[in-house]
Amino acid sequence: MYNKKVLDYFRHPKNYGVIKNYSGRGKVGNPRCGDIMELHIKIGKDKRGREIIKDVKWQTFGCAAAIATSSMVTEMVKGKTLEEAKKISNQQVTKKLGGLPPIKTHCSILAEEALDSAIKDYEKRKKK
């Protein structure tokens, strides 16, 4: 059902955990459906003064696809500017994982939503 890469990311998840003094936090999903993803980001600045995702951590209650996409999306955004991170789509995450079974597409959407939600949370905090 899952390809080798998905299973590898599921088996050896990267970047899981929490950031205590996070800049933004996104939590999406619903335990009834069997998927909850929480994502923390820490924002910093690069040499050119652009805002970048300095650190990112996740926690997920969900199936292998949910865990693998959580791990992959955090790997993809780490070090990226906020503008770049905003452009990351669930299709890109799925593609990087070499594809997911069609019924698991919603897991990759969850990863994209968690990232979006964390970035929006940061932007809201910044305005305050």
């Binding site: 069997g34 998927d35 926690q59 209650f61």
Partner: protein, 376 residues
């Protein structure tokens, strides 16, 4: 280490059975419907297996027909109903019963799905109250395939006085005594591959005089209740599998089950699903809170331990197990349920390894789960 704990899904075929079956592919390969001696010998072998099954459930061999498995037997049993009839079944049936019941509803048959309590038992009063003048058939699973709960068929049979009574005995057959007379059964489904026999073989007990709605047409085989050349090697294997069942094995499996339950419940935030006492000797179903079952199952798989899960993520519908919902588990806990099912080949050493691995995986998955903070 490889540990196979999915014996409710299927079992390993006993070597002795394979050896015996092989003879029926290469030497005694006759068609039981043929009149020459090849055919006669094949027919005798079929009837020998028929006799073994009949004896096991305290009936006569002319009340047993062979099918392709438990699912076909269940389909065939329920398809006895016609438009206007009323069927009573439960919310914890195997898909081959409830999908058939849903299909019957589309054909104008009324269906009542009985509730179960939190241990999984049918309420006998609800059953009594559900019976009306159109009620033709009551179909209730004997030993549940997911949570192992065993229904009191004797008590249910007493309620079904002038009504046909069917049971899906696929999981309970050869684990618990079944007496079709004592239980007042008219129909009962059995399967070979759950008891170390080959796949693709099952049986249906049909009380004498009962007319089925034939589903496979084209021949007068099986007392004109099911067309098609019989699967002789498989049926011989099925009979042999029953002969190889030992009372001692059942007892030992039950002891191993109790040991595994006791040890797994030592893990914090776990619960046993189903009844503690009236339970199939080989079934363990445990919910691990804060964890999603597919993840747990796949991690165990990679460590060599083969189990199954009631999690939605492992199903094609993304809905958690209907049985776990019927016993009142909240969705998020149903998602974290694992079934461990044992067999006569299971050893204590394998269970010790399993316990160790379950603890490791549960710890890891709880570490990456965001749910813990919410539930403190």
């Amino acid at each position: 280490m490889e540990v196979y704990l999915d014996n409710s899904a299927t079992t390993q075929v006993d070597g002795k059975i394979i050896k015996l079956m092989n003879k029926y592919f290469s030497e005694n390969y006759g068609n039981p419907s043929s009149l020459h001696d090849f055919g006669r010998r094949a027919k005798e072998s079929l009837d020998k297996s028929r006799e073994i099954i009949a004896k096991k459930i305290n009936t006569n061999k002319d009340e047993i027909i062979f099918t392709s498995g438990g699912s076909e037997s269940n389909n065939l049993a329920l398809n006895i109903l016609k438009e206007g009839d009323h069927l009573i079944t439960t919310k914890i049936e195997h898909p081959s019963i409830f999908e058939t019941a849903k299909n019957l509803e589309r054909k104008g048959i009324k269906v009542t799905y009985l509730n179960v309590n939190k241990e999984g038992f049918v309420d006998l009063d609800e059953l009594k109250k559900s019976i009306n003048k159109n009620t033709k058939l009551v179909s209730i699973i004997h030993g549940n395939n997911e949570i192992g709960v065993i229904q009191d068929l004797e008590a249910i049979g007493k309620i079904c006085k002038n009504i046909l009574f069917h049971t899906d005995a696929v999981q309970s057959f050869c684990k618990i005594n079944i007496d079709v007379n004592k239980f007042n059964l008219s129909l009962a489904s059995f399967s070979s591959h759950k008891i170390h026999g080959p796949k693709g073989v099952g049986a249906l007990y049909v009380k004498k005089g009962l007319e089925l709605n034939k589903m496979i047409l084209g021949g007068h085989q099986e007392m004109n209740k099911r067309g098609g050349t019989e699967n002789v090697p498989g049926i011989v294997g099925f009979g042999e599998a029953i002969k190889l069942i030992k009372e001692n094995d059942i007892k030992r499996i039950g002891e191993l089950r109790d040991f595994l339950i006791k040890e797994l419940l030592k893990i914090p935030r776990t619960r046993l699903n189903g009844s503690k006492n009236k339970r199939l000797c080989n079934n363990i179903n445990i919910s691990f809170e804060l964890i999603e079952g597919e993840g747990l199952m796949l991690h165990l798989d990679m460590k060599g331990v083969k189990v199954s899960t009631g999690s939605a993520c492992s199903s094609q519908t993304l809905e958690p197990s209907h049985v776990l919902i019927a016993i009142g588990l909240p969705h998020e806990i149903a998602h974290g349920s694992i079934r461990f099912s044992l067999s006569k080949n299971t050893t204590k050493k394998e269970l010790l390894y399993t316990i160790k691995k379950v603890k490791e995986v549960a710890k890891l998955l709880r570490k990456i789960s965001p749910l813990k903070d919410d539930t403190k």
